[in-house]
Each structure stands twice: as structure tokens, then as C-alpha cells.
């Protein structure tokens, strides 16, 4: 593996462990998080030049602890009084001989620390963008610059957002420990949602010229794997990881060589990542029979059915519809209804699908979404209402904020308005009814 990549991966892996250890000792999550950031930046500069230290975790702990002490010394008298009772902090975590610290893998205490860290980053007092940014930095070990690049935001904006987030956590009196039940289950739901949002942002970017940002999906999967290691018996954690793997498996096939969108029905399935699919299926199968099925497991099962079909035509739509029926009772919402309408159309015909879409017309949550129009356009096309479909595609193109999607929709609209068919009917792409892409229900675009 490339040396720099190895260092970066190692730093990301160690970051939450080091932060957990520091916060466990000193509290003051925000100061510790800043200190760990400094240590990570120092390592990113020094390790490539000097080599990875024998005990990288101890190295980071030492540097972070020093940064913490320096910050305290430079701070106000108030803070000095507060910490006066604490002896030199480095005494607490480092024995006289720093080489005495064992550099082992994730021990039980570390597991709890990392989990507590993840829970803290997803504190309900924070807005979703703050939860995402803080999770990526504090638990993901990304630098502020990397988080900013991931969200196509200025670095200063992200730095402020994270600082404010940590302030809110402090003001909320949050403690660095796993909440007791039932808060723990609730908070786990929030953590899963945050990871899902990170994945979704990477899978269909909401701004910028690209369709997707693989660095974000990769990071979301990495954090989901971490969570799965920490909580292997939680079915929805496994469900989310499986969903991510099965969805991301299609990444290479979603765009052609020029970056244009390729709908699910037209994707080259030999470009799908079969190893990721196999892993996703195995993880999903492992959750069966362990209790009531949750929404991530259901979405993963739907993604698995798409992944298993050797071709678009061979897709088991009746089974997919059955799963959407369950999802509608377990986690109803306009996006699920939209995806279910697609499945209904595939099983019962486009008119049936259109009827269900009609129920979303008065739903405020769908009012400015291009997805409703895009699906409607597909179904209208299937019923042969080409003029109505053309106008629907144009409306969808006007509503989307994603450039590749807009171009795709604009083209589909134009294809329904061909001045005259080409001389050779074999060149006419739309003689076969197009299968509509369903994707997974909560995808921002409802796209492949």
C-alpha cells in the first residue's frame, strides 16, 4: 500500500481511540478534540518524513496531551482555577516510561470510548450538519480541511460549525459516557441516521458538478464498519452497513466514461462490485431471525434483490413490492411512497403507480423535489403519454440542484420530442418499455 495512504488510514483509525482516552481522563471534550486535531496534523507532517513511530498511539497521546496542556496554560485564569486540582495531566495517562503503554488493538475500554464518542458527536442538541461535521472530524479522524472538501464548504465555515457544535455539547451538559436505556437506543438511531446522511451525500451529491463523491461514501462505510465492530448484535447497525455496501457496489456503473448518469435498468452489471455485494448479503443474512426487522434491514433487502438480479428484466419486483409494503408500515414517508409507486408500476402497470403518486401531490415535503416529477415522467412515458411525460421531465429538470441529473432529465425530455424517428428502427432506443429505476427508497435522487 502507498506509504502516505497507510499513514492516513492509521491516523484515522487511531484518532477516535486517542480522543476517547483523553476525554476519559480529562473531560473537556472540545479542548481534547482540538488537541487531537493538532496531534493528527503534526503526525501527518512528521511521519512521512521520519517514518511511523513504533508506538503510534502513544506518540499521538503524548503530542495531544502536550497540546492540551499548552492550551490550558495559554487560557484564561478561570480555566486554570478549574484545573488547579488536576495534577500535570501527562502524569495521568503516560507512565514515566512512555514505552510502557501497550499498543494493542481495540480493547474493551476503547470500544466503549469510541462508541461514547460517536454518541457524543450525534448529540440531539446539534443540528444535522453539525452532527455530520463533528462525527467526521472527531470519530472519522478527518482534518477540518478534509471535512470541508467533503462538503464543498469553506474550511473556515466548517471550523466554526465544529467549534459551535462542541460549545452546544458543553452547554447541554453532555457527558462522555454511553447513555442508559432507553436513550441509548434512541441515540443509536440518531448515529445511524448521521452515518446514513454522510453516505447519501456522497452517493448523490447535493451540490457541485459531480454526481457522487466516493470519498464520503467510503468514509460512511468505514464508520459503519466501526460501529458494526462495536455493536455486532444490533440488527439495524448490520442493516445499515449492508445497505451501504449493496448500494455502493453499483458506483462504477452509475456513470459512463463521460460522467453521464446511467439508470439502473441500463447499468452494466459486470461493473458492479461483486465482493461488496457478497459481503452485504452475508451481513444482511446474519440479521435474519434476530428480531423485528427494521427499516435499514428492509432497505438492504431491497438493494440485495436488485443486486442479485442478473439483468434488469430478471428483477424480482413482486418481492421488492412486498418489502416496500412492509417498509411503508415500519417507516412510512414520502420517499418510501415514491419508491413503492415504482415497484407497483413494475408489478401492476404504470397507471397503478401513477395513482399512488397522486397521493404525494399534496405532500409539502415533496413540493420542491424533482424526484416526484422524475418518477411521474417515467411512468407517463410507460403509459405512452409522451407529451405529458416530456413536460414532467422538463419540470423535474428545473427542480433538481444536481447538474448530471439535470442534464439526464433534459435529455430524456428531448428524446420524447424527436422530430421524426430515425430511418433504422433498431436505432430507436425506446421501443422496449423502459424499466424504471427504483434504487433505494431514501436516495436523494431516487436514481441508480
Amino acid at each position: 500500500m502507498d506509504g502516505e495512504r497507510r499513514i492516513e488510514d492509521l491516523l484515522r483509525e487511531l484518532a477516535p481511540q486517542v480522543l476517547g482516552a483523553l476525554v476519559r481522563r480529562f473531560g473537556q471534550f472540545d479542548a481534547c478534540e482540538d488537541a487531537v486535531q493538532e496531534a493528527l496534523l503534526a503526525a501527518a507532517v512528521q511521519w512521512p518524513a521520519e517514518g511511523i513511530p513504533d508506538r503510534p498511539r502513544s506518540w499521538l497521546l503524548t503530542v495531544a496531551a502536550r497540546a492540551l496542556v499548552d492550551a490550558w496554560r495559554a487560557d484564561s485564569a478561570r480555566r486554570r482555577r478549574e484545573t488547579a486540582a488536576v495534577l500535570d495531566p501527562t502524569d495521568h495517562i503516560l507512565p514515566a516510561d512512555p514505552t510502557g503503554i501497550p499498543d494493542v488493538g481495540l480493547a474493551a475500554a476503547d470500544r466503549d470510548d469510541t462508541l461514547a464518542l460517536l454518541f457524543l458527536c450525534c448529540h440531539p442538541a446539534l443540528s444535522a450538519p453539525s452532527q455530520l461535521a463533528l462525527t467526521l472530524r472527531a470519530t472519522g479522524g478527518l482534518t477540518t480541511a478534509q471535512v470541508a472538501a467533503a462538503f464543498l464548504a469553506p474550511e473556515a465555515t466548517i471550523a466554526k460549525r465544529i467549534a459551535r457544535a462542541k460549545q452546544h455539547i458543553r452547554d447541554a451538559g453532555a457527558r462522555f459516557e454511553l447513555p442508559a436505556q432507553p436513550e441509548r437506543t434512541e441515540r443509536l438511531g440518531v448515529v445511524l441516521h448521521v452515518l446514513y446522511l454522510i453516505f447519501n451525500e456522497g452517493y448523490t451529491t447535493s451540490s457541485g458538478p459531480a454526481l457522487q463523491r466516493p470519498d464520503l461514501t467510503t468514509e460512511a462505510i468505514r464508520l459503519a464498519r466501526l460501529l458494526y465492530r462495536l455493536l455486532p448484535e444490533e440488527a439495524e447497525v448490520a442493516g445499515l452497513l449492508a445497505l451501504m455496501l449493496l448500494t455502493d457496489a453499483r458506483r462504477a456503473a452509475r456513470t459512463d466514461a463521460d460522467g453521464r448518469i446511467v439508470p439502473l435498468a441500463d447499468q452494466r452489471r459486470d461493473q458492479w462490485d461483486s465482493a461488496a455485494i457478497a459481503e452485504g448479503q452475508a451481513i444482511l443474512t446474519g440479521t435474519l431471525g434476530t428480531g423485528p426487522v427494521g427499516p435499514y434491514q428492509l432497505q438492504a433487502a431491497i438493494a440485495a434483490l436488485h443486486a442479485e438480479a442478473p439483468s434488469a428484466e430478471a428483477t424480482d419486483w413482486p418481492q421488492i413490492l412486498a418489502l416496500y409494503d412492509v417498509l411503508t408500515t415500519v417507516a412510512p414517508g414520502p420517499v418510501v411512497t415514491l419508491s413503492r409507486a415504482v415497484a407497483i408500476a413494475m408489478v401492476h402497470g404504470p397507471t397503478a403507480g401513477l395513482a399512488l403518486l397522486g397521493t404525494l401531490d399534496t405532500d409539502d415535503r415533496m413540493a420542491h423535489s424533482h424526484r416526484l416529477e422524475a418518477v411521474r415522467a417515467h411512468l407517463l412515458e410507460q403509459t405512452g403519454e409522451t407529451t405529458a411525460a416530456h413536460h414532467s421531465y422538463l419540470r423535474a429538470a428545473k427542480l433538481t440542484a444536481n447538474l448530471p441529473e439535470q442534464r439526464y432529465l433534459e435529455l430524456r425530455a428531448a428524446q420524447l420530442h424527436q422530430p421524426a424517428p430515425p430511418a433504422n428502427p433498431a436505432d430507436w432506443p425506446d421501443q422496449q418499455p423502459r424499466t424504471i429505476d427504483a434504487g433505494t427508497p431514501n436516495e436523494v435522487s431516487g436514481h441508480p
Partner: protein, 119 residues
């Protein structure tokens, strides 16, 4: 010197009556140009805006600022996207001409102000 190059029109404005092949060709031209200008270093920044129908305009009505739906200009004259190029005027015009040769739709070239304080 920096110039802003502006494209106008919402969905359907510049592509009125055009075939799918023509539209696909336009997308390709714009993508290729964007890549070339970024690689040559001439393009400092560029971006596309969402359709003008999604804009809001704040107007001063009856003594107060009021957000209203829709763009400031007519949809067909609303900004669709821009490039900021670090070039001289001749080069800017040359680049823009390449696009207009295909789209047959107007584009504007305007110099960006210099901010350094002159003695």
C-alpha cells in the same frame, strides 16, 4: 486580467426545438470546454446555477424587503452559469465564440474589477 463569461436562459430557453442529439452535443461541448480551461489554468472558477424558476428575488415593496418567487430577469435572460477566466479579452471572446457557434444563443463577456488600491 479576469473576465466573467455568462450563459443565460433556463431549461428549454437555449434548447428550444432542438433534438436530443443536439442537446447531448451541447452538454459534451460544455463539459469538454470546462475540463480544457481548468487544465490550461485559464479557468479560475466556474459553476452552473439551478434553473431560474427556483430563484427568489427580494424586492422592496411597500416600504419593506419582500422575497418573491422567481428570478430578477426574464427566464430566458437569467443567468444559467458562469466561468471566471484569467485571460485577455481576445482570448475570452475566442472561447465564447466556440460555444456560441454551437448554441447560436448569446453569451456575455465582462471584465472583473481589479481591487488593488492604485496610488
Amino acid at each position: 486580467m479576469k473576465y466573467m463569461i455568462m450563459m443565460f436562459g433556463g431549461i428549454g430557453a437555449a434548447t428550444q426545438g432542438r433534438s436530443a442529439e443536439w442537446i447531448a452535443g451541447m452538454h459534451e461541448l460544455l463539459m469538454k470546454l470546462d475540463t480544457e480551461l481548468k487544465e490550461s489554468g485559464e479557468c479560475v472558477a466556474s459553476d452552473a446555477l439551478v434553473d431560474p424558476s427556483q430563484a427568489k428575488t427580494v424586492r422592496f415593496i411597500n416600504g419593506a424587503p419582500v422575497p418573491t418567487d422567481g428570478p430578477f430577469a426574464e427566464v430566458k435572460e437569467s443567468l444559467a452559469g458562469y466561468w471566471i477566466l484569467e485571460v485577455d479579452e481576445d482570448r475570452a471572446l475566442q472561447i465564447v465564440s466556440q460555444v456560441v457557434a454551437y448554441t447560436e444563443y448569446p453569451m456575455e463577456v465582462r471584465r472583473i474589477m481589479d481591487h488593488s488600491a492604485q496610488p
